[in-house]
Symmetry: C2
Subunit: 449 residues, 2 copies
């Protein structure tokens, strides 16, 4: 989590030291006992930097936190009160492993905005859509199985695939998203090599981190290719309703109910603190997902589900999404305007929705190497390497425009531009910039959700 | 979930049919794509029965739901309102993967009642302690690894171990809990066979389902044996503060900080609907658990955590636990009184805390075979087979006294006695009772938490 000021975040950066002192040792007596999968779990080397980046004086263009100041907190407080006072015996009790049925019906209403026609029984409510990612991976992936994903791809999904010892094969994208011809040749090569591909993971709308969307023309082509190769499509769509222009695009799930698992979330269109997401799946897969979720958490929180359900039934949630869209569009404008003014030597896309700009640095610059100096200059971002399975992406960085105000975004880009200028001088003098140790970025955690 | 009346629970029993009709098929086109671990996930054959058992006319002695009617819902409603209205920007936002620091400090206060001395940094907040079970299993278990557990053992833990393809070896218990000599000989035999034991899973207080507690004398002996064999102890303690007589026993974690992972929960001492549990782990293990949890859910719900934190800091939570203890003691008395009156041919223990009585049926009776007839007679329980990895336990059943009122408990036992009498007549006539198909009970879900 970034840019949240206050004592808790500040303290968090110091605690490991005091804990190590309190316990006298950091040795791990259980080192030999871990499962194989655990050896792939490592803290990102950028984590320590993010602890610093959380300080209020740093402009963080790193996080994926939505900006919540526009929410009607007094109204939401009354809802929370009513949920507990009048429906407490249900809200505070265990619930269904699949999720509250009323909420599942309301989720259908939300998804109808993207053309999805489903049954409440097809929906499984999860603890954020991150848990849906975990459950889908859990039921499909054996160690060594292949997941095909965009290059770049959402860092939190890559972390899940790594945790289940999958192998991720990236497919290039362009301004219209996943390139069907590249997908086809990748699947053909994997098939020829006898490597089973379990699913295609894709963020078709306002991609994290690349900011692009899969064009409406390409959607049926991608689905047709996946179907032909017997590959399930995992459509991850947290940002689909946050487009800046026009109507939402039709979801891939709306074109293929049997071949697509659809992941949705209230984290970006409402608020992440309740941790409510969902997955829509064909009947038999849905049954497995419910069993897997019961094993993982027994059931999602009734209190959270009923709060969101009441919000949806009593508040103007469409109006809230509209005001989010306007706010994020203004911030996107601030971001691309500041880039044009201060960093014309870089290149970037102009996203028409979502939270992120994907920036290519001038030749010779390395986004990960540069990060410590950026944080020293009081600006933070996520280096492109976080979004590749194989350490590629060092020439890119992800800049988020979701959380800081337009003014802070402009200030952040100004600071970034001075860091880039300093790096370019170093490169001109020495042919390279100094390097921080470490390789592929691992599990950066909620900081860069 | 059992005994929750109302339209939602009723509907849930019918939906699969309508869904199958809506989709026209129950075939699974992705059957060949599942991971190996998924083939071990099966719905319990008692699940369909529990859908019926949820009807209000059935007395369910099956569920592990706490009885929440005594909670001050008006006060909790005000807390929920305050949390959102005054701290909404934090409560509705992403939080730390490890959990809210204030709550982690308060958890230390709760655990101090059982003699545990820890640092807030040792605590990881989870989505119920079920998620803690999942995370611990995830980081330690390779397929084929051995987990040692009491015979019988908590069904939800067995489900997690199965989901990670562990092999569970049971160790007998008696009225004082796990038998140290049996643990030692089991570990010795496994060691001689070259089979790595990753951890000992134990519920030392008011065992689920057996109702017994590990005596204070045995605790250091069990720890010493585990240490000698290099086996981590997973101490699962949701009921420790719900003893009916005297002070809470000292936790095993209070005697060994490096060799014990401790699982705690607010589900039984407060309410399960917020889904807040925790794990206390040695430093290095804790780091792995945080990474695993971030991969699984990004972070636990801030809204839930702050609600519980505010409850702990502003309400008399110790008084609430005391009133729970008195209520459950009264229900325990109703249960054992009714058993003595109506089922003297069975045998059972008299638990001094928690939610469960473990009942041995008269010779020749099979608890799983009998269940459909019991549900027909409007009483439900969980057959003993659910609590064994290997299908043992058919001569036992778990009777819960947590949710139904004393009067309903007595009525339930009366109904059960008439079913048992009918079974005994069958056995006397034919030498056996009729059987339902199916074998080991799998993943019964939140119904029997």
């Amino acid at each position: 989590m970034t840019e949240q000021p206050g004592p808790e975040r500040e303290t968090a950066g110091h605690l490991p030291t005091s804990s190590a002192a309190a316990h006298g040792t950091r040795l791990d007596p259980w080192l030999g006992a871990y499962a194989d999968r655990t050896h792939g779990m490592r803290a990102s080397e950028i984590r320590a930097l993010f602890a610093v980046a959380n300080r209020p004086e740093v402009v963080s263009l790193a996080g994926g936190m939505p900006y919540l100041d526009g929410l009607p907190l007094d109204v939401l407080g009354e809802i929370a009160q009513r949920v507990v006072a009048t429906r407490g015996l249900q809200a505070l009790q265990y619930g269904s492993g699949q999720g509250d049925e009323t909420l599942r019906e309301q989720i259908l209403e939300v998804m109808r905005l993207e053309g999805i026609d489903a049954h409440p029984d097809d929906v499984v409510v999860t603890t954020g859509s991150q848990q849906a990612l975990d459950l889908v991976t859990r039921i499909f992936i054996n160690p060594g199985d292949v997941v095909v994903a965009e290059a770049p791809s959402y860092v939190g999904a890559l972390g899940v695939f790594r945790a289940y010892q999958a192998d991720v094969v990236h497919v290039p994208i362009d301004a219209e998203g996943l390139i069907p011809e590249e997908l086809e040749s990748t699947l053909a090569a994997l098939s020829a090599a006898g490597r089973p591909v379990k699913f295609l993971y894709t963020v078709p709308n306002f991609h994290n981190p690349a900011g692009v969307s899969l064009s409406v023309e390409r959607r049926p082509r991608v689905l047709e290719i996946a179907r032909r190769y017997g590959v399930l499509v995992l459509e991850d769509n947290p940002y689909g309703l946050l487009g800046f222009d026009g109507e939402p695009r039709a979801a891939m799930r709306s074109m293929d109910a049997d071949g697509v698992l659809y992941l949705g979330s209230f984290s970006k269109t409402f608020a992440p603190g309740y941790r409510v997401g969902w997955v829509v799946a064909p009947h038999a897969v849905r049954e497995k997902l419910v069993l897997a979720s019961e094993s993982a958490i027994l059931c999602p929180s009734n209190a959270s589900q009923i709060a969101i359900s009441t919000y949806l039934s009593t508040c103007d949630w469409r109006g809230q999404i509209k005001s989010y869209r306007e706010m994020y569009r203004e911030r996107r404008d601030a971001m691309v305007g500041a880039l044009a003014e201060h960093l014309p030597e870089a290149s970037w896309n102009v996203p028409d929705g979502g939270f992120y700009t994907w920036v290519r640095l001038p030749d010779g610059l390395d986004a990960k190497d540069m990060l410590p100096r950026a944080v020293t200059a009081r600006v933070a971002y996520v280096p492109g390497t976080a979004f590749y399975y194989d350490g590629a992406g060092s020439d890119h960085m992800r800049l988020s425009f979701c959380y800081p105000t337009p003014e802070r975004i402009r200030e952040g880009v100004r600071r970034l531009a001075s860091v880039v200028a300093g790096e370019r001088e170093l490169v001109e003098l020495f042919g390279t910039s100094a390097s921080v140790p470490g390789d592929v970025v691992q599990a950066p955690g909620p900081d860069v959700a």
